[in-house]
């Protein structure tokens, strides 16, 4: 139950801390604010990172296309939102709208991810790992281009598709109004809440799935040793396929959360989100899901704090500097399993 563990720690921290804010010194409030921001960003990164780490854990592929998969998920969500005019629903309607977007995008991304695996990666199962990696890079390029075309749809939400490449505004279905009493000096907005309330259950569900279901066990078996697994009568390709399915679904959820939290999507957004998520996965110990979550949160926090208290122009350096130092002292990441040579 690692995941619960780490996240359960996170949110109360933000809330509990903010309760004693009034009588706290002036530097506390901004700090808390940055922590809230950092954690919200971190959770989104974590959600995407899980997609990376699952796929890596099972076929040792750094799935470069994952970030761009999320891009498409976001574009789908925007299209639907535009088509249904979700923005106008308001109130409860708006909530149900969000649910619709989440589900639609999840299903779409899951399907797409599975298809990519089926069409591109499956024929290369026995090929060198880096061959797979390059195919993944190829897919990423293709997805980016698809997103560009998608942005050119003649729809209101895409600005009539005149400027396909321009960033698109994603309707603020979830308000940015503070949910906490003003006296607390810390804003915890509805979109922050959304991030938490979608991400946490997903992670719990995932943990349960991987630990206690038949499929989950099969996944771990395949991750351990595909050959042995197949000898035990496990249909390896099916298991891998469903891994992509689940990873994709998470990506889909993440993409909608991302869109609702940042309110902007663009056909190249997959690049940085993907890189952050991949970094998170490795920082946490690639292949380990709790690791991915912790990694995501750490990166989110570091980014926020560096932006807030150092110079924003050095933030990337700070993030990766910390990453490198961490790995020098913990060579298999924060929660990664320590490897020993079998002789």
């Amino acid at each position: 139950m690692h995941i619960l563990h780490h996240l359960a720690a996170a949110v109360p921290l933000a809330l509990a801390a903010s309760t004693d804010a009034p009588e706290a010194a002036s530097w506390v409030d901004p700090l808390l604010q940055q922590l809230v921001t950092g954690l919200s960003n971190g959770m989104i990164i974590a959600l995407i990172a899980i997609g990376y780490t699952m796929v890596y854990g099972i076929i040792e592929l750094i799935n470069f296309a994952h970030g761009d998969l999320c891009t498409l998920g976001a574009f789908l969500a925007l299209t639907i939102a535009g088509a249904l005019g979700v923005e106008a629903w308001g109130g409860l309607g708006g909530a149900s709208g969000v649910v619709i977007l989440l589900l639609a995008s999840a299903v779409f991304c899951a399907g797409l991810n599975w298809t990519i695996d089926y069409v591109v990666y499956r024929p290369l199962r026995n090929a060198p790992k880096l061959t797979l990696l390059v195919s993944a890079i190829g897919c990423s390029f293709i997805l980016v281009n698809v997103a560009l075309f998608w942005g050119g749809l003649p729809m209101g939400v895409f600005g009539g598709g005149v400027a396909a490449a321009a960033p698109k505004d994603f309707p603020g279905l979830v308000s940015d109004d503070n949910l906490l009493p003003a006296a607390w000096h810390v804003t915890f907005t509805a979109s922050d809440l959304l991030v938490v309330s979608v991400t946490l259950p997903l992670m719990v569900a995932l943990t349960v799935l991987v630990r206690y279901t038949k499929l989950g066990k099969a996944m771990r078996a395949v991750a351990q040793n595909p050959t042995a697994a197949s000898l035990m009568g496990i249909d390896v390709d099916r298991v891998i396929g469903s891994t992509f399915l689940i990873g994709g679904a998470l990506g889909g959820f993440a993409s909608v959360i991302y869109a609702l939290y940042n309110n902007t999507i663009s056909f190249q957004m997959g690049y940085r989100t993907g890189m952050d998520a991949f970094t998170a996965a490795v920082l946490g110990g690639i292949g380990s899901m709790p690791g991915a979550v912790v990694g995501g949160l750490v990166i989110g926090l570091v980014r926020a704090l560096s932006d807030g208290y150092l110079e924003a122009r050095w933030t990337n350096s700070v993030v990766f500097g910390i990453l490198i130092l961490t790995l020098v002292f913990r060579p298999s990441g924060l929660l990664g399993a320590k490897l020993r040579d079998k002789v």
Binding site: V162, Y258, Y261, S266
Partner: protein, 394 residues
């Protein structure tokens, strides 16, 4: 595999030679692949309009146009290799008599010397880095180094950062702001203009509370916005463009509740910016400076252009479309006067452009190749559209 590849390359090469007969040719070299695609599309539309306007002919000589891409897929942005390639390709094709480009001043630094040696006229719809033309504004050796032949072959229809940054700072003060917070996108255009703004702001007694270079690929800037909120500036100035995430910044400033005004340069003077930022986040509090008059303020030429453009693309022409159009027309006008296919003559004709009745007003090229039009206009955003406020600077 690879043989097939070579074959295809070869065949393409031959194809392009086969076409090397015919009339005059104008090429543009702009980043068409990747994030600048939206802006450059407007520019290309503008150029096309200019050519269509004269019926694709200048006294008998048909005008071909090629829209070259100086970006490459693997870069997703302007690529020095491709820009250099485009320049050489243009030179190699004797029909080419004018080179419209570049969008990025960095790219211009690559192709300017190349084209200058060959004396092919180059007109930029987008470069605003002062050092490209104005001695003393950039490095000690600029702009001499871009003119190995000693002659001037590079012109631009856009006012440079040093004008716009200054004007922006003045306007800020006029609006009664005392304190500003500066952001830039750490790219040539954005950082350059923010530097000028900062320098002038200090001269005219504005208090600069902070300066940050942002990562234009970040997914949001809420943390930075929190920091700015704590600093409580009267105005936040962002030196950057729509493609370097100006929209996201505006959004995050509002979402964390920064009350300050928000000002951006002409890199954001396009519908795409409003779409990206979401009108609600901009209305009333956002200000955009721009060299020249916005489409709806245009008279004469400009007004006609606007009408034609709306007829064709059923949207108001962006600033970029205007710039592109102006480049095209200046070049065509020069051809008309030169009455020849000779590059040198056309170059001379362009340089001689005087009191040109352009869409951006009536202007000439000065000795450095810059436009003499110093008209700057200030816009604000109201209910989802730009609204002209006033003419800035003198």
């Amino acid at each position: 595999m690879q043989n097939r590849l070579l074959a295809s390359i070869a065949s393409l090469a031959i194809a392009s030679i086969a076409l090397a007969q015919g009339s005059l040719k104008i090429v543009s070299s702009l980043p068409r692949t990747g994030s600048a695609n939206a802006q450059t599309t407007s520019m290309v539309n503008g150029i096309k309009m200019a050519i269509d306007e004269v019926g694709g002919k200048v006294d008998g000589m048909a005008i071909e146009y090629e829209d070259m891409d100086d970006a490459s897929p693997q870069r997703g942005n302007w690529d020095p290799a491709v820009e250099a390639q485009n320049a050489n390709k243009a030179l190699a094709d004797e029909k080419v008599i004018g080179y419209i480009g570049t969008y990025n001043s960095g790219a211009a630094k690559i192709s300017m010397p190349v084209l200058n040696k060959a004396g092919l006229v180059m007109i930029s719809p987008g470069n605003t880095y002062p050092g490209l033309t104005k001695p003393g504004t950039g490095e000690a050796n600029e702009p001499r180094i871009y003119r190995p032949s000693g002659k001037i072959n590079y012109f631009r229809v856009v006012p440079t950062d040093d004008l716009q940054g200054t004007v922006a700072a003045d306007w800020t003060k006029e609006m009664g702001c005392k304190t500003v917070y500066l952001l830039d996108d750490r790219e040539l255009y954005g950082k350059g203009i923010a530097d000028v703004f900062e320098k002038h702001a200090k001269e005219i007694g504005l208090k600069v509370l902070g300066r940050e270079g942002i990562d234009s690929k970040a997914s949001n800037y809420k943390a930075l916005a929190n920091k700015i909120k704590a600093a409580k500036p009267d105005l936040v100035y962002y030196g950057g463009t729509t493609q370097t995430n100006a929209g996201q910044i505006a959004k995050d400033l509002r979402s964390v509740g920064v009350e300050a005004k928000f000002m951006v340069p002409d890199g954001c003077f396009e519908k795409a910016f409003i779409e990206a930022a979401g009108a609600a986040n901009l209305n009333g509090k956002t200000f955009v400076t721009f060299g020249g008059l916005p489409a709806d303020q245009l008279t004469g030429r400009g007004a006609e252009f606007r009408k034609a453009y709306m007829a064709k693309y059923n949207t108001d022409p962006e600033a970029y479309a205007l710039y592109g159009y102006e480049c095209g027309r200046v070049l065509l006008d020069a051809i008309k006067r030169a009455k020849t296919k000779d590059r040198a003559a056309i170059l001379a004709a362009v340089a001689a452009t005087k009191d040109f009745d352009g869409a951006l007003g009536t202007w000439s090229f000065d000795a450095n190749g810059d436009t003499t039009s110093k008209i700057m206009s200030g816009q604000t955003v109201e209910n989802g559209d730009f609204k002209f406020v006033k003419v800035l600077g003198k």
